[in-house]
Symmetry: D2
Subunit: 290 residues, 4 copies
């Protein structure tokens, strides 16, 4: 059986590693903060000393860390993944990173005659726990095929999108549509309120029609109660909108609706709301009365 390694046991990573264990995989784990490894090793995972240790002892190593900088460090740092890789081994980067970082890692992995797959995920804590993530894979197709069973253990849908970078691009497209929907939603709630329509009536009507979607259903009542504890922080959404607009710039593609939505998220950042949930853009969209 294939030996899997897993690097990064934060909120997302620990849930995903647990689901791999449940599915019966031979799993070796590592986390910068060693204490977070205990629950997994108690559940049957083998502990490792470093990313290099994981990469050299496993057939395929998965990484799930919090940002491009962490991803870069885990790959290129001392005792990092690149050191541990050798011919034929696989490295699957599932963190959300920019195409540049993904390309840099891919190049280093290939220089070791190893194989690289990026597979950023769409979905947050709950879908990670429920094994209902959506995986946006791109890179080595043979490695993708070998990961089939593992991907099924952590997600409900995996799409293969082509060359390295295409997974990140798809994630930006999806998040930018989500950001545009949220801005349109909040502008609608504001217009409803300004016309003395109850937000809950609006939510009921939206949920009964062609616009019905889990995001409005979940976030609507939280917006009404101004309950903004972060499941996807506003600053991350604004960054994704910026990166999507930048992707559009490269293709000479104007995205004016998204640019306007981005300005609303930026206004929210300027109001100091960047660490709240991205639905807190509501605060920037409501009219300010003197």
């Amino acid at each position: 059986m294939v030996k899997l390694g897993f690097l990064g046991l934060g909120i997302m990573g620990s849930a995903m590693a647990r689901n791999l264990l449940h599915a019966g995989f031979d799993l070796t784990v590592w986390n910068r903060d060693r204490e977070k490894m205990a629950p997994l090793t108690e559940a049957g995972a083998k502990p490792a000393e470093s990313p290099a240790d994981v990469a050299s002892t496993c057939d395929i190593t998965i990484a799930m860390v919090s940002n491009p900088e962490a991803s870069h460090a885990i790959a290129f740092g001392k005792d990092g993944v690149i050191e541990g890789l050798s011919q034929g081994k696989g490295y699957v980067e599932m963190s959300t990173i920019d195409p540049q970082t993904s390309h840099a890692i891919a190049k280093a992995v290939r220089a070791k005659d190893a194989r690289y797959l990026e597979a950023p995920v769409s979905g947050s804590k709950k879908p990670a726990e429920d094994a209902t993530l959506v995986l946006l894979a791109a890179g080595d197709h043979a490695l993708y095929d070998e990961m089939k069973e593992a991907f099924e253990a952590i997600g409900k849908l995996t799409v293969y999108l082509g060359e390295v970078g295409q997974g990140s691009a798809m994630k930006l497209v999806v998040n930018m549509i989500m950001g545009g929907m949220m801005a349109a939603f909040c502008e609608g709630i504001a217009l409803a309120q300004a016309n003395h329509l109850a937000p809950e009536d609006l939510f009921a009507v939206l949920d009964a029609g062609a616009t019905a979607n889990p995001m409005f259903r979940l976030k609507g009542p939280m917006i009404e109660q101004e309950q903004f504890s972060p499941s996807f922080p506003l600053q991350h959404m604004q960054k994704d909108l910026r990166l999507a607009l930048a992707l559009g710039e490269i293709c000479a593609l104007p995205l004016p609706t998204i640019a306007a939505a981005n300005a609303q998220f930026l206004r929210a950042r300027g109001m100091g709301l960047e660490t709240l949930d991205f639905s807190a853009v509501w605060k920037a969209i409501q009219t300010v009365k003197p």
Copy 2:
């Protein structure tokens, strides 16, 4: 049993009238073009000579015509509804009309000691046939209560929104959110295509996440095939966006995301796409290559 009248047997009206018949209502119908009355009278409805005729012989008269002008004509014209109304009778205007027209009709109805309810619907041909419309009622509450059974025969959800004008306002809010979502969706498809991502992969990913909604599911493949036979014409969506922005102007509420979306729909109108489905905004959003 309450005697119901129904004015306007177009695509929407004929489906709604048929559902009222199926539910066992005593129904009298009238349509400007008499030929369209035949299928309904064959199914058991009584024919009438004029809107006034319907209004004077029925307890409650329902109108479902295509625009504010037709709504105005059917109410105030010669042999119109107002002529036929008398004390205690009810008039339920379900056409999509602007608040001004609705208020004018309400005033005239009340001057005859009759009762007025506006109940514009959210949903198009299919939901009308399937009796799954969403009804946005506002006005006389007692009349609303009396219509309960009839509304259940044609829709899956009815909300009561308060004073005359609130139904129309809710409809504008819902349609403006729908228009904003469509613009964000098309900008996303364009960005995906420009980055060599297959639209069907995007649709699959969107449909597996928090953004999943019937509109994207239905319209996505039609956009990809540029199949734009109208179920909700683009010019009507653009008009609703304009009216929603105008409602925002009155409340000093900026709606910049919607204003940007509206510009995309206007561009589509300028390209001569106004009679196609509103998803044809896609054609205005794609980059024009030289």
Copy 3:
């Protein structure tokens, strides 16, 4: 010599009437508030009892009132201009009014076999006093020719734009460009400040280049000092932007830059700044810090 009548002696009208007197015209004046007539009659103007009185005793009557409602009242009210007009007389409406009102007055004037010219002005108090207004004339061309000398006494440029309504349309185009420039200017000042660049350095650089214009030169320092006593109230600019966007809707012409600028002015209105100068849009454009 042609006998001129002048209706409306507010800030603009009194300055214009005075310039006509200075140019030697035989002038009859009227104002709703009679006290404002004294300075003009002391300077040589003849007083009149009503708009109808002016219209019947003068060859050509000029109106300069504050809004479409006042314009409508002065024309159609009891003892209004229409009552006093007769064959061959001229009516020159210089108030800023919408095309609909202008068309309605034109029709009534022609029904009396009299002639109508609209000539809204570009410019505010100072240009009115200095006789440097810009006049946007449209309507009866013979009347336009007869007004040549009078127009020269109050303005520095008169353009003849064709049919009734074209003068109002030009005014909206000019004001919408002005509003767009002001929004771009304020966004630039905000970006300068956020980067620790002194606004006065920005003003100096703008004034030395291709962008140099009287508006930036005048308003820049006032914005820096947040001195917003109104010379052109913000609510009027926002209304003109709305009307320009509405004109674009009719022609299926998207104006997204102006729509975004309009949202900034609307935001300012929502902040309660509507009676300040239109440069107070600055307050809505500055970032809000927590």
Copy 4:
């Protein structure tokens, strides 16, 4: 007398170098393409072999090249400026470069105990020839003082803006305002045309009022004739708008009017107009008729 060096003899640089010669400066010149040096050496300038040669033989070296890459190469390349600098010498970078490149050069210059000033210019070919450029200086203040006479020989206004990077930032602010003005102007021309108003009447009215500026005066007639030979290429304006928006992102400052204008310029790029003058954004703003 101070010995000046000049690197880069393109359209801008050759005009500036010529003005320095006319003002009596002792000038040494270098250009990658040696043939372009001839007109200057014939007029009295001394030829040099390389940027290092200029930097080592002159007290102060000025660079005026076409983009950040050329600027980087001329400084850091073999026989580059950095090689030639020594204690107390000055380097004045007048090319339009991004703050990052400017900071990198500044650091290297200081490492040689030399002094650095950035001084990007506002203005194009004509102002360069007429010595009416606007200079946006930032960096070493003593060097700025020493350059006073030289700056007066090539420009009509020099502002000192503080630390390295502030000159570039000011240039972006100025160009972004210019881009916003151009978009508003073109949207206005389009609205005028759609309402059968002659563009030349609009230009006359704008030029007689508070909006009068050299850019509208020059570009208006060229837009009307669709004469777009580049004096400032559209792709450069779009890039500057993008960089200004990016500067806003860093400060959490939304710039929605500029974002909407940027989308119009991007649309123009998508239409293949990137090498034309930036006023060719007109082509993207006009309505497309089917």
